[in-house]
Subunit: 369 residues, 2 copies
C-alpha cells in the first residue's frame, strides 16, 4: 500500500507538500498539482487514517450512544444521525447501551482517548449523578431526545410539553372529559413534560375535564400491557388516552385487545413518537410525531460547532412536534359526553391549525429544512 513519501518522491516534491496539498488545498502550481494527482491515482494512494489521527489527535469520527438499536424510535434516530455524519465526512461508531451505565461511561471515556471526537448521546434511564459528572468532564457530548438534568451540555429535545398539550386538546376537542396518561419512567423529563402538557390542556378546558388515570413504567410494551390491565379493572374508565411512546402503545393495544376493548370505539388514543407502522394498525393511530431527522441534524451540527471550538451557550434546543391526525380518536360514547362539550369545542377551534392531517403512510427520505 502506497505511502505519502512514495507519492511525494514519484511526484518530485516533498512529503510535506503533498500532505498540505491534500489537507488544506494549499494552492499549488497547476502543473505540480496535476502531477501529484496522477501519481496518487496510479499508486492508488489513500492516507492511513490511524497515522493521520495519531498525528492530529482526533479521529473525524463521532459516536452514537443509544439504548437499543432494535427499537424503531432509536433506529430512526440512528438512521438520521448516520446520514448527518456521512454528510460531514464523519465516521459513526455505534454504542448500544441497553441502559447499562457502564457502557455509557465507557463510551464517554473514549472521547479522552480521541477514539471519537464527540458523542451524540441518547439515554433512557434516570441518572444517579455519575453520568452527568462524566459528561461534564468532557467537551464533545450532545444530548439528544432525553434530558439529563445535571449534565451541562447542549441538548436537543422535542417539545414534549406541547406534545402533551396537543394530545390533550385533541382528545378534549373530540369530546373527551376523563383522560388517562400512560407514561414512561416518572423520573424522566420526557415523561414529566408530556404529562404536564396533558394536564395543562385539561386545566385549560375547565373543571368538567380531568385526568382520571395515570400509569408510569418503562418505555416498553410490557409497561403498556400493565397499564391496559389496570384500565380493564377500572370501573369508571377514562374515555381518552395519551400514551407517551409508541412502544408503550403497542403493549397497551395488545392488552386492551386481550380484554376485548376496542379502539377507538371504547376508548380513544393518542400516541407519541410516530415511528413504526402505526398508521397500519387498526385503526391507524393518531400520534404526536417527533422530528427525528431534524433532531439529528441539529445535534450533529451543534456537536461539530462545539468541537470546532466555537464558544456557544449551553443551549437547549426545543424542536416542535406535530400532531398527525389519523383514526384512533373519535367522540366518546354518548352517555359520557358532558353537557357543555359544545361550548368548549368552540373555544378551542383555533388549535386545529397547528395539527396536520394525514392518513397515508409517513413520508420518508430527505426532507431537511
Amino acid at each position: 500500500m502506497a505511502r505519502l513519501r512514495e507519492v511525494a518522491q514519484a511526484a518530485g516534491v516533498s512529503a510535506a507538500t503533498v500532505s498540505r496539498y491534500l489537507n488544506r488545498s494549499l494552492i499549488l502550481p497547476a502543473e505540480t498539482a496535476a502531477r501529484i494527482e496522477s501519481v496518487i491515482r496510479s499508486l492508488d494512494y489513500r492516507p492511513n487514517p490511524h497515522a493521520r489521527r495519531l498525528s492530529r489527535g482526533r479521529s473525524d469520527t463521532i459516536g452514537l450512544v443509544i439504548p437499543d438499536v432494535a427499537n424503531p424510535f432509536f433506529a430512526g434516530l440512528a438512521d438520521a444521525v448516520e446520514q448527518e455524519a456521512e454528510l460531514h465526512g464523519l465516521g459513526l461508531l455505534l454504542f448500544a447501551t441497553r441502559n447499562r451505565s457502564e457502557r455509557e461511561l465507557d463510551a464517554i471515556s473514549r472521547i479522552g482517548r480521541t477514539l471519537v471526537d464527540g458523542l451524540i448521546f441518547v439515554t433512557n434511564h434516570a441518572d444517579d449523578g455519575s453520568l452527568a459528572r462524566a459528561i461534564n468532564a468532557e467537551r464533545g457530548v450532545v444530548l439528544l431526545d432525553e434530558d439529563i438534568a445535571a449534565a451541562q451540555a447542549p441538548k436537543i429535545l422535542a417539545d414534549n410539553h406541547n406534545g402533551g398539550v396537543l394530545a390533550g386538546r385533541h382528545l378534549i376537542m373530540a369530546g373527551h372529559r376523563r383522560l388517562g396518561f400512560i407514561g414512561g419512567p416518572q423520573d424522566l423529563l420526557s415523561t414529566t413534560e408530556r404529562r404536564a402538557g396533558l394536564r395543562d390542556a385539561v386545566l385549560q378546558a375547565g373543571p368538567a375535564c380531568s385526568v382520571t388515570f395515570e400509569n408510569f413504567g418503562d418505555y416498553t410494551a410490557d409497561a403498556g400491557r400493565a397499564a391496559a390491565s389496570r384500565l380493564l379493572n377500572m370501573t369508571n374508565r377514562p374515555t381518552g388516552l395519551f400514551a407517551a411512546s409508541d412502544k408503550i402503545t403497542l403493549g397497551l393495544l395488545d392488552g386492551l385487545r386481550a380484554g376485548a376493548m376496542h379502539i377507538p370505539r371504547d376508548m380513544s388514543l393518542v400516541t407519541f413518537d410516530d415511528v413504526g407502522p402505526l398508521h397500519l394498525l387498526d385503526p391507524p393511530l393518531t400520534a404526536i410525531r417527533q422530528p427525528l431527522r431534524e433532531m439529528a441534524r441539529r445535534g450533529v451540527d451543534l456537536l461539530l460547532a462545539r468541537l470546532r471550538g466555537e464558544s456557544m451557550p449551553e443551549q437547549t434546543v426545543r424542536l416542535p412536534v406535530q400532531l398527525i391526525d389519523r383514526a384512533s380518536v373519535i367522540a366518546p360514547r354518548r352517555n359520557t359526553i358532558s353537557a357543555n362539550a359544545t361550548r368548549i369545542r368552540r373555544k378551542h377551534d383555533a388549535y386545529h391549525q397547528t395539527g396536520v392531517s394525514q392518513h397515508g403512510s409517513r413520508p420518508r427520505g430527505h426532507n431537511r429544512a
Copy 2:
C-alpha cells in the same frame, strides 16, 4: 493524558515491559505487576488507540454495511451485530448505504486502510459485478442475509427455500389451492429462493394446487401496495398469499385494506422476517421468522476466524427459519375449497411439528444458543 513511558518511568521499568505486560499478559514478578497496575490506576492511563492501531496495522473495529438502519429488519440485524461486536471487544462502525454502490465500495475500501479489520456486509440490490470484484479483492468480508452470487466470501444466509416451503405448506394445509407470491426484486437470491420454496410446496401438493399470482418489486411497502392494487383488479384471486418481507406486507395490508379486503376473511397471508410489531396488527400475522441473533453471531465469529488467519472453506451457512403461527391464515371461503382438501390435509399433518405456535409478543433479549 498519561502515556506509556510515563507509566513505565513511574513504575521503574521500561516502556516495552509495560507494553508487553499489558498486551500479552507477559508473566511478570507479582510485585512488579502490582506496581505497574497501581501506577496505571493512579495516572488513569489508557493506551492511545490510534498509536496502537498504527503500530499494529489493525483497528479492532469491524464495520457493518447495511442498506437502511431505520428498516426494522436491518435494525434488528444491526442490534444483533453490535452485541456480538461488543462481546468480542470490537468497535462497530456503521455504514448505511441506502443501496448506493459507491457507499458500499467506499466501505470495502476502508479495509485496505485498516480503518476496519473487516466488514459484515448486508446488501439489498443486485450487483453489476463491481461489488463482487471489490469483495473478492479483500479478505475480511462476510456476507449476511443476502447473497452476492459472484462474491467469494463466507455467507450467512437464512434457509429461504425452506421458508417458502413452510409458508406454502401452511397455506395448503389450511385448505388453500390458489396461492399468490409477492416477492422482492426478481434478481435477488432471497426472493428467488423463497419463491422456489413456495412452488415446491405447491408441486408437492399435487395438480389441484397452483401459484396463480406473482408480483416482484422492491422490498418496500410501496411494492406491497402495488401488488395489492393488482390483486384487487383480478377476477379469480388467490386465496392464500406469501409475502417475501415484512415491509412488503405492510404496504400490502395498506393497499388491501383500502380496497376493503380483509385478512384473513377474504385472503390468508404468511409474511417473512417477523420483525416489527406484526403480532399486533389486526390480525396478528403468521410469519416465517429469520434468526437474526444467530445470523449475527455466526457472521461475526466467521469474520474473526477469518481475520485470525484460520484457513476455512468459503462456506455458506444456512440458518433455519421458523414458522410462527398466529392468526392471518384460516381456511378459504367454502366455495373455494377443492374436493380433496381433506386428503391432502392428512398427508401433510406431520409438518406441524416443525412450526412454533405463538400468539404473544416475540421474546427479546439474550438467547444465544
